[in-house]
Subunit: 395 residues, 2 copies
């Protein structure tokens, strides 16, 4: 009898209401959930070294890579010749790769969607390119990420019911094609990140489905049903934080999350603020990614336990306090608001480097606190106090 091992395992270790604390085991390490995944679009989490991501301050167990960006530059051949994305970038922990669906969607007028896939013009050189479920799966196999996302189509936040249905149904058909091509590629050994001799894992990649359907709860339910019918190693909610009202996001999550399979990880794509993360955990979400800590950091905005701090503000010119007095990251241990403001005002790279570090430390530490509070049964209290403190202006 042949034992069938999965590519990942997921165990819930504790719950508090709908909130779950779990262990997601991948071929490249165990990830405690709920987890925040820093975004490494083009093979680098912008402005931070991998050593820092691995450091005690951050200890990021999984980061994102983007199929769209890496496919255009450096291209699949370079990644293949390097032996996969992990080896190309020098990161041996887990990777999740987005399918390119969202990036191509966000090109707006530059793209054209057909049943077969999406034609679009490259943002790099304007050349005509084409992505499909099959191509996305091929690229993600070459990248060798631990978690592959299906190639989906995202409807805008204000899509009509008819447009949203068309888009959701296309995503469902693309999910089937993604599933089939993914299975072929795994059998063919196309996965460049494959790890043999894993005790209870098969050493291959995992594939996650994505729930679409814009703001329509019935479409969201149907999308989830179709994804579960196909069967994936995890399920994501896509197409949120794309211009809809925040209340719509909560409605969709409140509708979908309770219906999602309990024994697989639930991933809310592209969300969000620290408050969004905590509120989503309360609704049963396990995984997150967002560019806010890195992008806002480069723009001079810090997230702190008492709200956001804009380092540009003149009021910090002589302020020798750290960004966040309750933060123990290396930036807060060493540098003052006055110095960070000076760096930002003089256009020094170090401003972005330090704010990126602090912001990622804050997001990852917040998730650490979330997990501890679920383990100890104090999540409701943590949630209440966290949201209250965040509302206090840092400025």
């Amino acid at each position: 009898m042949v034992e069938i091992k999965p590519p990942i395992t997921f165990e819930i270790e504790a719950t508090s209401g709908k909130a779950r604390a779990g262990l997601l085991k991948t071929r490249r390490g165990v990830i405690e959930t709920p987890v925040f995944m820093p975004v490494g679009t083009a093979g680098t989490v912008k402005g931070i070294r991998f050593e820092e991501l691995e450091s005690k301050d951050l200890d990021a167990r999984i980061i994102l890579g983007n199929t769209y960006h890496l496919w255009l530059r450096p291209g699949v051949e370079t990644i293949k010749l390097s032996g996969g994305l992990h080896r190309f970038i020098g990161w041996d922990r887990a990777l999740l790769t987005d399918s390119g669906g969202f990036q191509v969607w966000s090109l707006g007028a530059l793209r054209k969607i057909s049943e077969e896939g999406t034609a679009f013009r490259s943002h790099v050189d304007g050349s005509l390119q084409f992505l499909s479920p099959e191509i996305s799966m091929e690229v993600q196999a070459a990248l060798g990420s631990e978690i592959v996302m299906i190639f989906d189509e995202c409807a805008p936040g204000d899509a009509s019911a008819a447009d949203a249905r068309r888009s959701m149904e296309l995503t469902a058909r693309w999910a089937n094609r993604s599933r089939a091509k993914f299975a072929d590629l795994q059998l063919q050994g196309a996965d460049s990140g494959r790890k043999e001799n894993q005790a209870d894992l098969n050493g291959g990649q995992a594939l996650f489905g994505i729930v679409q359907g814009a703001a329509y709860r019935d479409l969201r339910r149907e999308s989830l049903e179709r994804m579960v019918e196909i069967g994936f190693d995890g399920y994501a909610i896509g197409g949120l934080s794309v211009g809809e009202e925040k209340s719509v996001m909560w409605e969709v999550i409140d509708e979908v999350a309770p219906l999602m399979p309990t024994r697989q990880p639930r991933y809310l794509m592209g969300v969000g603020t620290p408050e969004d993360l905590v509120e989503s955990v309360a609704r049963g979400i396990d995984m997150f990614d967002c560019v806010l800590p890195t992008r806002n950091g480069r723009n001079g905005q810090a997230f702190t336990a008492r709200g956001r701090v804009n380092v540009k503000n003149a009021q910090w010119a002589h302020d020798m306090r750290p960004l966040d007095e309750s933060c123990e990251c290396s930036v807060c241990r060493r540098h003052s608001r006055a110095f960070l403001r000076h760096l930002h005002q003089t256009g020094e790279m170090l401003a972005g480097i330090l704010l990126t570090h602090h912001n990622l430390a804050f997001f990852l530490d917040t998730m650490r606190r979330v997990r501890h509070s679920i383990w100890s049964g104090d999540f409701p209290k943590f949630r209440r106090e966290f949201i209250e403190r965040m509302r206090a202006s840092g400025e």
Copy 2:
């Protein structure tokens, strides 16, 4: 009887021909010489965190700050309120501050020199500003650096003999004024970096004189004599690497270095390539600073033991070797030329961050090797082999 302690001590531990290996003791740590000082113009060595400067890879014992830049931004008041430059930037090792003379000189047409000092327009906001020996000493006392430089005037590399003499004589008079004002400020307790209870040091700042005189050997000799007559804690050669032929630089160093006091540190300002450093050590120089490793790193150029490597080049697209196979820095241990090229081509901040780290590691490691070779008596062999290897193209 009152024991008179100096602000710094300098001991030669070994020599090899004219090359010297010494120990420069400051109130903020002991510096092994010959030493390379990374340039931290505006209170940050561009693109690198202080933790990395302190790490084993680099272990920079002293960095530079620039009076001109810090005086304009964030301004003396902010630095004073922070308790000095060390506390403002979060660096507890030694600092050397340039006087502003060279920066003001490099503004070219924007400046006007008089006996009193230099009027110029700020590069930040175009406002009219004025620097003099007295003001420079006041700013450097507020910065609280371990080593203060006199306010000098720098003649261009192609200055006429008459212009070069005028400039050299002005620098000599300004050296006198710098000395007098510096002594006043030390007595007044204006030094924000003062450290009491130093075993064999007085806890105050050291002041270095600067030899000028353009390409004229007689003027250089006279300038040195006048500096030694005034008496400083160390002596610098300024006004080189400002557009003159390389052969002129060696002529000046060959003329001046043998005449410089043997028991004080000798500092060659703003020089140079790794080859220049090794060749200057061979002529008796102890201290260096240069923006090459940081500036060129940001522009995609790496210094390696086999010459320079431009990461932009297409030939590295699939090259999985490190920048420098003989380098043990964290960048070379982890990342390939292919990845560094990709980062540079996609305009990622990490390109500059990693190349800056490697280049500084290479410069500092080169100086470490220089010191070891002087200690062991192998400096001539090291020098010959180093120069030969550097001539081998890295590309």
